[in-house]
Symmetry: D2
Subunit: 327 residues, 4 copies
Amino acid sequence: MDYNVIRCARAILHVTNLEASRRFYVDTLGFIETESDEEHIFLRGLEEHNHHSLLLKKSDKPVVEALGYKVSSEHDLEALALLFEKEGYPTKWIEKGEQHAMGRALRVNDLSGLPLEFFAEMDTVDRLLQRYDLYKGSRMQRIDHFNCAVPDVEAAYDFYKEKLGFACSEYTETSEGSIWAAWLHRKQNVHDVAFMNGKGPRLHHIGFWLPDQLSLIHTCDVLAASGYGESIERGPGRHGLSNAFFLYLRDPDGHRIELYSGDYLTSDPDFEPIRWDINDPMRQTFWGHAAPDKWFTEASSVLHVHTGKEVPIQAAKLKQHKPTFVI
Amino acid sequence: MDYNVIRCARAILHVTNLEASRRFYVDTLGFIETESDEEHIFLRGLEEHNHHSLLLKKSDKPVVEALGYKVSSEHDLEALALLFEKEGYPTKWIEKGEQHAMGRALRVNDLSGLPLEFFAEMDTVDRLLQRYDLYKGSRMQRIDHFNCAVPDVEAAYDFYKEKLGFACSEYTETSEGSIWAAWLHRKQNVHDVAFMNGKGPRLHHIGFWLPDQLSLIHTCDVLAASGYGESIERGPGRHGLSNAFFLYLRDPDGHRIELYSGDYLTSDPDFEPIRWDINDPMRQTFWGHAAPDKWFTEASSVLHVHTGKEVPIQAAKLKQHKPTFVI
Amino acid sequence: MDYNVIRCARAILHVTNLEASRRFYVDTLGFIETESDEEHIFLRGLEEHNHHSLLLKKSDKPVVEALGYKVSSEHDLEALALLFEKEGYPTKWIEKGEQHAMGRALRVNDLSGLPLEFFAEMDTVDRLLQRYDLYKGSRMQRIDHFNCAVPDVEAAYDFYKEKLGFACSEYTETSEGSIWAAWLHRKQNVHDVAFMNGKGPRLHHIGFWLPDQLSLIHTCDVLAASGYGESIERGPGRHGLSNAFFLYLRDPDGHRIELYSGDYLTSDPDFEPIRWDINDPMRQTFWGHAAPDKWFTEASSVLHVHTGKEVPIQAAKLKQHKPTFVI
Amino acid sequence: MDYNVIRCARAILHVTNLEASRRFYVDTLGFIETESDEEHIFLRGLEEHNHHSLLLKKSDKPVVEALGYKVSSEHDLEALALLFEKEGYPTKWIEKGEQHAMGRALRVNDLSGLPLEFFAEMDTVDRLLQRYDLYKGSRMQRIDHFNCAVPDVEAAYDFYKEKLGFACSEYTETSEGSIWAAWLHRKQNVHDVAFMNGKGPRLHHIGFWLPDQLSLIHTCDVLAASGYGESIERGPGRHGLSNAFFLYLRDPDGHRIELYSGDYLTSDPDFEPIRWDINDPMRQTFWGHAAPDKWFTEASSVLHVHTGKEVPIQAAKLKQHKPTFVI
């Protein structure tokens, strides 16, 4: 492979009301607003040195425009374009200057239909990691991962491993030996992207990194005190899978975000992916708690890179399966 | 009033398997085992200077023998006996020496039928508050409160306030203006005892004090790692009522305990009790989470002080009511 | 005793620059500003239901005007006035309305010369305990205690125990068996007031209660990020004495405040005061850290209740003694 | 570069009393003892899947035998051997089987004289990350970094960057523009190794990763309660440099270890190293606290790979400089 995908780097979400989004993300959760105009809000975390990791665009419908990955260099973009074209996925270039604060970007819908974006360059800004006087709400540090529902997890798993160089940290297997879900990483923690068997392509959630467990608890308190109790969908709790401490929220448009703290270092090539049985009740929540139904069924639709239309949703290849302990 | 009830001080629970209880309370939750024999385990928290705050007695059936309150002096016991007798509640004395590590004790079933015990003297032992090398599991510090389901909360509320000198910190009111539940204290935090409208008399739970929120989270992790995932019934979460961070567990016999951290100082006579509407979703869980049905329906039966038989359970005076958001 | 001192309730500090004080206490530490005018700032903590617990008055010199205790009723004030007069300490009344937000107050310099104030009534305000959206900086919850340097600790100890009804939770003893320092409480935690042998009368610090240990650490981070690194005088660390987690700060006028979290319940009359040897290195800092010299030598002067002049400072009765491990 | 150094992976320390070391590292700090015999104790952290990250060898003198780095493959070892030989540093091979639980290892004293070891293979063991029932003391997760005093930091910096492929995250510069200290990483956090100007080569400390800030505080409490108060050398505090929360301990032989939690992700090639002025008081301790003198002056000697003798200590190239705020 002559390209190096560094990490999950930014998401572009369409939202219907920028003011409502600002109240949620900035005023309540404490995301840093780098910049904004009448059509966009550019958000980042406290340790991020790039311009933004979450771009909210005003639109009629809450969908996902792109899931962005940072690569090492412009050359990597060219090489990735070649790969995707060769594999039969038509690419699209967005030249530097066409997107605010961004260098040249490559977009393509992957084999699952997910709208990917690759870029090597984004404006840099002041890191605020030690501006503790600005810490508020969730104290969000940085974007961590994307979690996507796709109809064929094994196909996605193979492509990301073999073609894009991702490594698997953990996975869930059905009793028949099929991969039900997989956690894949380029940076050295549990994941940059996870795929779960389900109707898709859809974005299940974007994961953001928090500095510690108490920040998640305080986030719940702040949300409740701010009238956002109903935005708390699941958690806080401990994932068996990844070992992270988690909290799932729904933003004013229904996009799901995960606040996430913990996991572990995955630097070693001899690290064996951890297998979880789909019926293991500790997999989803280490403590055995059930997730609400809508956590399993609801997710955000994604746009086609070329048409700008929603990508049609297909049935999952593996039979819908909700662990029995959830009943 | 010429007696001074100091605080909720010990509970006596009947359990069916002392070894199973020890594995849960001592090995996993880290309660300190002061002493034990073939019929008893005496447990305490890290800051407690009295011999025990939880006495487990081997028995055929998991019931509650007594809810113990500490008073200032022997004289207080005499005065309380007079009060109860005068109010029509027959009392029973257990002389010093009859109960291990205890001075003289007065027992009586209160107006709700709850088996109370009052005592002024219990053996003292080393406080282990600064023996951090012994901290494990939940790091439990001390007993905090009893929570009881009773058929007539207002009657209990009146008796405890007017006859026993308790103060009310918070209460839940129905839309008709009846007291649905009340939090009453002698020591200077939210409660020593709470009464909730329900079939009773039953002990809903015993609350134990933990030093901080992370101790509750770690307790969940330890329980899950030790095979006690199913013992976690509810939480961790924030109570709107009391503002405490909570976790509800079921012990091997089904007795419910609450691990509890937070609340506030209630020293002031001009502190106005906080009123909660029964339909306020933030009352039970500030973050809006639902409690499982069994948290509302299951509780421990209590014994009659004189007969040693279970006190018959009566229907609640107010119509059973579960907040609609729980459905 | 026919009066009931409830607790340490408010301090009145003279400060030279209200704007500088506001930037420190309100903007940085997150104290709640109940009200202010050109001469005063009234501050409180998040759980307090009374109007203020710290009153800053603009003045030429940073001194202490009064250390205020709340009592149960107006009657208690009368009884206390009788006591002090009888003991030879001339009292002074400040009628309701003369002090903003306050009922009638009794002032007197005690046997050490400390300017005490007693009051039963202060305006009530909204408690902000569950307004987590307003939490910032230190998340200060409530005033906790005063710590004073006095020339004769044993005399103060005796007066507060025998005349004012305080109980001793912990004390430091010299090798000759004299009380070097004592922690005395009315409310049910370690102290409302502590006396340390030293040149006095002086206020060593006011202690404020924080909800947990991480709030102290975050306070350090926020102070440093806000340019107040030099305000951090000592800590964070663990006191052996009291077991509390502590942080000592100097405000812009040099008044010392302690941010404090932990300690324990002191409700029981059979609780034996804990004795510390003055040479025990774990007494001051359980971890063995040394405190800086100025922590031992600097403190705030106090005003005379009747003259409004500074109370002359007298030498300590016991020889100045700094534990050898500090050298 | 046709080799890939993955990360700092194990240290070999000589200690004079294995029982004393076990009491410190295992019984008190909670390091996991994978195995031991009469001459060795093999220790690891809770998330580590390799056999050990700290090897204690019984010896007459407390010195450092080797600082071990993991590489991707056997091939990398060959390539690294070629590099070092070519650069004039004589290498030494230790064949698989000669060291317990280890594959083939390459040893060499680097340009500063530090005894490096590279290996691709170590036995794997059960990760205990979710065995929360085994968590105790510090809850140490994994080895994080080495910090070394070397006479010529710039020479070391150049070699590690240009020859070994390390990236610089942060550095300290003198007013003359010389690099006083540098933090270099291969894995994606602040460092695998840091070099500080000083008499050397010496190992200043080994850094171990803890899950959160409260684990450091609890470690202090446990150490104090276990009689190790004097082992606490510095902290807990916040480093300006790296932003990590730190605690420095001295083991029974005087080897220094750092318990460390925090820092940030360093995955991006466009991350600009952060420059600190040597006179910035927030560099060492963000809160402005001084470190004790011995933290600056004491460190562990290292052995020569070929002779087994101590490597002679040379004067630092830059004039010894202790920030003025430390005085």
